[in-house]
């Protein structure tokens, strides 16, 4: 709980209805998915609860956020900002913290149809944004976590791969101008928003030095470097007709599949050949979705329960499947893309199983368009988390996949993670094969202590393997322990990252749990 006087001051900012320091509310915010794994890694009891924050506060605009941050500085209370709050990286790392829940900041500020960007606040969900921009024939990037999460959070603070990445890129690449409340409470406006005259949202980099790398780098700072209150994200042409008609009843909806969409699922048979296929297909710049998934994962994206997942063995039997979805707005475009795919299949001597061995339910296409496929990862055991996460060349990603198989099989043999034959991978192309990322989704049972501990151990071993075999930085290099582990192997970036933290957050007020802590000696030198 907060001191009475402190609570009063927070109440004065947002109103008493929008701040709460009682045990009921704060305990709920202490809970998150996968928290049991991170607790175990830290030598704590593997419960799904982190440290309980002192309070939760709900600001409604930038000015309120600024005041909250300044107050946190005054009382030396750390803040942890969150939008929809999915994932352990939303959790405070200390009880001396306040959660800034940005739910009330849910406006779409602007849709610039001509310049292809939208300005959004933190609690606009991907599905909400997409529903509005579809009216203009436009689309947005949504992270793999699903359409219910915040594109702002993904763009400014947290990773950002997505199923539609061949055409919509990665969240880090889609950020334009940003309104950023620094840990000091100052407002920083990045890009063209920072112009003194005619400021606008269209550019994330100029004038002057771009701070987007500092702001989020590859994996994002997860609230460790401030709070983002508005962001402009790039928009893209919607890939096909925007008619989105879903009928029937949950969960077996029917979808009027738009004209000019076609799915290909092809078995590349070996990882080496998959690399060729990926590069060759993406070279032609025709795909809306182009992902490699394991046999099991490919079965999962067409299922809505574990019971009907097992019906899809005609897909699961494929050794190294690639999932390609092409979509077009005109017949001419569609004919062209189909011709290219036909040419590629002949050239690469591959066969599409869709239409012969398997016909997906129409709802798959709705989920593909709405980027809802990632949530299928939870079907098997109810819990999953990814290891790896490297972003690199196709060759590197596949090397990472192959090397990981033996490690994963060890833990499968122990019965602590679900058996996907070690192959569990999601690898996606970005911007027509410009680069790739892979991650290894791993199913575990969050209610089973052995499974949680086994999963934690597997994740740590996977990180070690990334170092040992030079597989690039995985996703979850976050927090001091991992940065200090990886940094020395990666040009000591962790030292620079610490300097960034010290420069932007001299009072160490933004919760560093999933970012990096400042060097306390440095702070002492500065009288902090």
């Amino acid at each position: 709980m907060l001191e009475k006087e402190t609570l009063k001051q927070f109440e004065a900012i947002v109103g008493s209805d929008n701040v709460n320091d009682g045990e009921i509310i704060t305990n709920v915010y202490a809970y998150n998915w996968c928290m049991e794994i991170f607790n175990f890694m830290d030598g704590k009891e593997p419960t799904p609860f982190s440290d309980t924050p002192k309070a939760v506060i709900l600001p409604s605009n930038t000015e309120e956020v600024q005041k909250i941050v300044k107050l946190c500085n005054k009382y030396n209370i750390k803040f942890k900002a969150q939008s929809t709050g999915l994932g352990p990286w939303n959790q405070p790392s200390t009880e001396n913290s306040i959660i800034v829940d940005l739910r009330r900041m849910n406006n779409i500020i602007k849709i610039d149809e001509k310049n292809l960007y939208a300005v959004i606040e933190p609690y606009v969900s991907g599905a909400q944004l997409q529903a509005e921009i579809m009216k203009y024939g436009l689309n947005c990037h949504m992270p793999g976590a699903g359409p219910q999460v915040s594109p702002l959070a993904s763009a400014t603070s947290m990773n950002g791969p997505g199923f539609t990445s061949p055409s919509t890129g990665h969240s880090a690449r889609n950020v334009l101008a940003v309104e950023w409340i620094l840990p000091t409470g100052d407002i920083l406006r990045l890009g063209s928003l920072g112009l003194t005259k005619n400021s606008d949202w269209y550019n994330g980099d100029g004038p002057g030095p771009s701070l987007r790398g500092i702001m989020r780098g590859w994996a994002g700072a997860k609230s460790g470097i401030g709070i983002f209150t508005k962001v402009a994200v790039k928009l893209f042409p919607y890939p096909c007709s925007t008619k989105f008609n879903v009928t029937g009843n949950s969960p077996n909806y029917n979808f009027d599949v738009p004209d000019f969409m076609r799915l290909y699922i092809i078995d590349c048979r070996s990882y080496k050949y998959l690399e060729n296929v990926f590069l060759r297909v993406e070279e032609e710049e025709i795909s809306f979705i182009c992902s490699h998934l394991s046999g099991f994962a490919t079965m999962a994206i067409f299922a809505n329960s574990i019971d009907n997942l097992m019906d899809k063995s005609s897909i699961g039997i494929m050794k190294v499947p690639i999932v390609i979805l092409i979509a077009a707005r005109t017949k001419r475009e569609f004919d062209y893309k189909q011709k290219v795919m036909k040419m590629l299949l002949e050239e690469l001597k591959l066969t599409n199983i869709i239409g012969t061995k398997y016909i997906p339910e129409s709802i798959f296409y709705a989920e593909a368009l709405r980027s809802n496929l990632g949530l299928h990862g939870f079907i098997t055991t109810g819990g999953f988390q990814s290891t790896k996460g490297g972003c690199d060349t196709a060759a590197m990603c596949l090397r990472s996949t192959e090397i990981n198989i033996q490690l994963k099989k060890k833990y499968i043999k122990k019965g602590v993670i679900a058996n996907d034959f070690g192959e569990g991978t999601w690898m996606s192309s970005y911007e027509s094969g410009h680069f790739f990322h892979m991650e290894s989704p791993t199913m575990f049972d969050q209610t089973n202590k052995n499974s949680v501990e086994g999963m934690a151990e597997y994740m740590e071993k996977s990180n070690e393997l990334d170092l040992l075999k030079h597989l690039g930085a995985p996703f979850f290099v976050e927090g001091d322990k991992n940065h200090d582990l990886f940094g020395p192997y990666m040009m000591n970036y962790h030292n620079w990252l610490r300097k960034v933290k010290e420069a932007f957050d001299p009072n160490n007020i933004a919760d560093s749990g999933f970012y990096i802590s400042p060097n306390n000696n440095e702070l002492k030198k500065r009288g902090k």
Partner: protein, 434 residues
């Protein structure tokens, strides 16, 4: 939900926030993407379906105590079931059942229900209705010209809200059945509260007593079909009663019966009703009115940590609610133009009244109603129609509070108009919107 299942399930929330929205692929606009009135109004995560699952876990782990604050959060919820529909699109959690079980636990510890809800439970025990009205006056709504048949095998179970508060609905239903020549009876002294208001706040012990009392009476009179015009009573009899005690008679809502009568020609809709309407799906007629199916299959462990159900376990996702019958009726009314809201069928937005919210948190009930009314206004309709007296009360209160130009009718009133039996009402209504 039994205790073992409850203890397992409360550990499985992924905190994905899906429960706050309507199913993702049904979202058509930013404005109408949300599905949960509680979190829409109160904003803190514990108010969501997933938030209440975490509350349940924290409570079981002893991290939180049964306090007034806990009670308030748990009862600021209409148990509309949207969270369950949204979650179960892909997951196998049962947010709604967990909330109900948590309420049961709070009642058992004496922490729940809310004082206003306790008052109406006492009223039900004393005078057989939650409105504390005299039981003898329950059937005062019956006009003299309504024809009843004491030997009929069909019973019209009117319900407390229609009997005491929304008499126009009961009168309309009875007149329609007379017009169709349907032989039916009403238990004039032997109709008692169905128990829904008590069940929804978690007093399962009191509910069991009411359930048995009602079933004893109905079964003793050889009734073959029970018809309801109240969605709450319908849902309670259809879905909740069989969980404790099976019975042989059929249950129907009046929209199902009336649709059949129109289809068979027993009801002839001849008069023009030239209005534009939109239909609000009551939670208790829609997504919650889906029976539990027995399953005696096997759980087969395919792999360590991975089990499947053989055959697949039925999942209540709201798909078997009553959605088509009311729409079919509306489309058959001559001259009537029907438009849909964005959130409909199993993902309809709640009216805001249910599960004791109207009595314990009237401001929440009205705010929710106003959200729904704005959605009805945005549909382009002049009239809002539904098939539940509770929705009727709350939505009309919302219309008044919002100073909305929208008018409200129960679907049975529109049928009467189309039968030529409510000419004055129709005339007045069309004049008001002209």
């Amino acid at each position: 939900m039994d205790e073992e299942e409850y203890q397992k399930m409360i550990k499985r929330c992924l905190r994905c926030s899906i429960c706050k929205w309507i199913p993702q692929i049904q979202i058509k606009s930013q404005k109408y993407a949300s599905g949960c009135p509680a979190i829409d109004i109160y904003n803190f995560h514990p108010y969501s379906g997933g938030g209440k699952i975490i509350l349940a876990l924290a409570y079981e782990m002893g991290r939180i105590k049964p306090t007034e604050e806990l009670r308030d959060i748990v009862y600021k919820c209409t148990v509309c079931g949207n969270c369950a529909v949204a979650c179960k699109y892909m997951n196998t959690l049962e947010p709604l059942e967990i909330i109900m079980k948590l309420r049961e636990k709070l009642v058992n510890t004496g922490c729940g229900p809310m004082p206003q809800q306790q008052a109406y439970i006492e009223a039900v025990k004393k005078v057989n209705n939650p409105y504390n009205e005299p039981h003898e006056k329950r059937m005062d709504w019956i006009p003299d010209d309504i024809i009843l048949n004491p030997d009929a095998k069909m019973l019209y179970f009117v319900g407390c809200t229609s009997s005491y508060r929304r008499k126009e609905m009961a009168i309309a239903a009875a007149r329609i059945m007379n017009a169709a020549g349907v032989s039916f009876n009403i238990f004039q002294n032997d109709e008692f509260c169905c128990g829904s208001p008590i069940l929804r706040i978690g007093d399962t012990t009191a509910f069991e007593e009411i359930l048995n009392k009602n079933l004893d009476i109905i079964e003793s009179k050889g009734i073959e079909t029970v018809v309801f015009s109240c969605a709450g009573c319908y849902d309670t009899f259809k879905v909740d009663y069989p969980l404790s005690r099976k019975y042989d008679f059929k249950v129907k809502h009046t929209v199902e019966l009336f649709d059949e009568l129109i289809e068979s020609g027993q009801l002839k809709l001849t008069d023009n009703v030239p209005i534009t309407v939109t239909y609000h799906d009551p939670c208790h007629l829609g997504r919650n009115a889906e029976r539990y199916e027995d399953w005696d299959g096997d759980v087969v462990q395919l792999l360590p940590l991975v089990s499947i159900n053989v055959p697949p376990k039925p999942k209540r996702t709201g798909s078997k609610g009553i959605y088509d019958a009311p729409r079919s009726i509306l489309k058959k009314i001559p001259g009537l133009k029907f438009v849909e809201m964005e959130r409909i069928r199993e993902y309809a937005y709640c009216c805001g009244a249910g599960a004791g919210v109207k009595s314990a948190f009237p401001e929440m009930a009205i705010k929710t109603a106003k959200i729904r009314i704005e959605e009805a206004e945005d549909s382009g309709a002049d009239f809002l129609v539904s098939a539940c007296p509770f929705c009727s009360t709350n939505l009309q209160d919302g219309i008044t509070d919002k100073n909305s130009k929208l008018k409200y009718f129960d679907i049975s009133e529109l049928i009467l108009m189309a039968l030529g039996l409510e000419g004055e009402k129709l005339k007045q209504a069309t004049a008001e919107v002209a």
